[in-house]
């Protein structure tokens, strides 16, 4: 990549910078203020998240990326209200939030559909918790199921669906409550590459068609660039915001853009941030000696 001539990832075309300007004028949906999270462990106190501050605007798509152990999952669980921060605040529409609620929909990494309910009833679940009548909940649920393209499977049970379909239902179920923000914790992490790409495209389509702000956690650089307006790059030990990148790849995003200069420039920057040049005495690398049989004529593979 060093020899490749790329523009700076900061360079934005007029259309893109115009779009960001408009985006930042929109109301703030989620605001995180001075967030800290520490855990007690056997080695003493461990800081998982340190001084996290950011805002997401209405209908913005934000990806959070970082090396493993940077506290991405902890962050999103705090946002969802499933864990409490050690200090700092999570504001939704300016209101502090500490408990989980239907105003922040969540799609988990694992499959969390209720196995005893059909697809339709899974999507109806949140609506009925709100106190909606069965018939209203049912007709609304069917619309959300249609949005994710699974009408044919409304009466199937989760175990009859593929992994990608299950996650689509999980998205529909989270959206059915019409949350202010959709929190997604590596939702496609368990899927194979093709399905994952299809799901990313599906997600953009859904996002375009409804009024929803998305906060999406991933460790896949391509996924982050393909999906996000802005990427929040975390660093590990302690988890801190390293940089917030405005993705200069214009929308609508297409698969061809994976090789566009903007895409590659952004990816190069992310690579630098997440995989910084290794020092020589890296603990993780293997120190191997050649172990071929004496006298065997084995060529060096990299010659």
């Amino acid at each position: 990549m060093k020899n490749l001539h790329l523009p700076s990832y900061l360079e934005q075309s007029e259309r893109v910078s115009e779009r960001f300007k408009k985006l930042k004028e929109r109301e703030v949906i989620l605001e995180v203020k001075d967030l800290y999270k520490t855990f007690d462990s056997q080695q003493g106190e461990v800081t998982a998240l340190k001084n996290i501050n950011f805002k997401t605007h209405r209908r913005e798509f934000v990806c959070v990326i970082g090396p493993s152990g940077c506290g991405k999952s902890t962050l999103i669980r705090i946002l969802a209200g499933l864990e409490t921060p050690s200090s700092g605040q999570v504001l939704l529409d300016g209101e502090p939030k500490s408990e989980p609620g239907p105003d922040r929909g969540m799609v988990f990494q694992g499959y969390t559909l209720f196995p005893w309910l059909t697809i339709k009833k899974n999507v109806m679940f949140g609506l009925q918790m709100e106190g909606k009548s069965k018939t209203t909940a049912e007709s609304e649920a069917l619309q959300w199921i249609e949005l994710v393209g699974l009408s044919k499977f409304a009466d199937a049970y989760p175990h009859q669906l593929s992994g990608g379909m299950k996650q689509r239902v999980a998205i529909a179920r989270a959206l059915a409550n019409q949350p202010r923000i959709l929190l997604m914790d590596e939702p496609f992490g368990a899927l194979d590459a093709q399905t994952r790409f299809k799901m990313q495209t599906n997600l953009i389509d859904i996002w375009k068609n409804i009024d929803i702000t998305v906060l999406f956690i991933t460790h896949d650089l391509d996924e982050a660039i393909y999906l996000a307006d802005r990427i929040l790059v975390l660093k590990a030990h302690p988890g801190e915001v390293q940089e917030v990148i405005e993705v200069s790849v214009p929308r609508p995003r297409k698969p061809e853009q994976f090789l566009s200069p903007e895409f590659l420039a952004t990816k190069k920057r992310l690579e630098e941030l997440i995989h910084p040049p290794k020092e020589d005495d890296d603990e993780d690398s293997l120190h191997l000696i050649r172990m071929t049989r004496v006298g065997d004529d084995v060529e060096d593979i990299e010659l």
Partner: protein, 322 residues
């Protein structure tokens, strides 16, 4: 393309035919051993059944005598020139042959009770089943909700489980005398013993099953706006019900093991009364028949419950394959 399945593949399912053969074999093997011991005289047959007492004054026709004593008497008769006793090798009275037990399966039901106040076999069996039912039903009525609460809320768990953990080591029959003193001599104390034997295990097992429910499902429900009550009734309970059902099947088996002790408490009753009574009359074929009947009732009720669970929990079908 039919590939022959190995009989000893590690953790691989057998073909249905192989499985059926082995199931059959698991019953045939004990039956075969029993038959060999019963029908092949030189395998065991430690006794001699007298057909002709001869000159031995204390022998009677039909008497079972140890082989050593019999041969001593024969030798004695020979030396004294009296008529030697005759007989054939037989098993002790407590080991009837399979065909005798098979016949007893029918005759046990048609044998009239010796006294007016006594019960027919089918009445005894039914009485046992009602005791089990009430003991198990009452235990589940209290134990299952407490178990679910313990598995869901740490406060319940900490407040209940240490004591239950202690109590479950106390053998249920130890409470027999106490139960009679409190509940009288009839069915009350028997139901109480089944209850005590089942309840404490039940709470712990149900609590454990509840804890095994994937916490991610509860978190998902929370983010969908469910409150505590809704979590309990709409997520925890439906989530554990198939496992709960399986737990209850296992616990029902345990309840049966307490039955015999329970029925000896106070006035002996039910199938246990029948067994002890028949043993007293030395009708060991009836005793065997009654014991096997308990096994059959247990096995059949379990099979019915297992079949039932497949029908009422359709989403479990995928997990039942293994």
């Amino acid at each position: 393309m039919k590939q022959k399945q190995s009989w000893f593949a590690v953790r691989q399912a057998l073909s249905p035919i192989q499985a059926r053969w082995l199931t059959l074999l698991s019953f045939l093997l004990p039956l075969m051993i029993w038959s060999i011991v019963s029908y092949v005289p030189f395998v065991w047959h430690p006794k001699v059944e007298i057909t002709e007492p001869g000159g031995v004054s204390w022998f009677q026709e039909g008497m079972l005598i140890d082989r050593a004593i019999f041969s001593a008497e024969v030798a004695k008769a020979r030396s004294e020139n009296t008529q030697a006793p005759e007989g054939f090798r037989a098993n002790p009275v407590y080991l009837p042959a399979p065909h005798e037990v098979a016949v007893a399966f029918y005759t046990a039901f048609t044998t009239e009770p010796k006294r007016r106040s006594e019960q027919w076999l089918h009445e005894s069996l039914w009485h046992s089943i009602t005791i089990i039912f009430w003991g198990f039903f009452l235990s589940s009525l209290v134990g299952v909700p407490i178990g679910i609460l313990c598995g869901t809320f740490s406060a319940f768990s900490k407040a209940q489980e240490p004591f239950i953990e202690f109590f479950r080591y106390l053998p249920a029959p130890a409470f027999g005398a106490l139960a009679v003193a409190i509940l009288g001599i009839h069915d009350g104390p028997k139901i109480a013993i089944i209850f005590i034997g089942t309840f404490f295990q039940q709470v712990l097992i149900v609590a454990n099953t509840t804890r095994k429910l994937d916490i991610a499902l509860l978190e998902a429900a929370l983010t969908l706006g469910a409150n505590k009550m809704q979590i309990l009734f709409r997520v925890v309970i439906p989530g554990i019900i198939p496992d709960l059902f399986r737990d209850l099947r296992i616990l029902l088996g345990w309840a049966w093991t307490y039955l015999i002790v329970a029925e000896l408490i106070g006035t002996s009753s039910g199938i246990t009364w029948f067994i002890t009574q028949q043993a007293r009359y030395k009708n060991f074929d009836n005793v065997f028949a009654a014991i096997i009947m308990i096994g059959i009732i247990g096995l059949v009720s379990d099979l019915i419950l297992a079949k039932l669970s497949k029908h009422i929990f359709p989403w479990e079908r995928s997990q039942n394959k293994a």
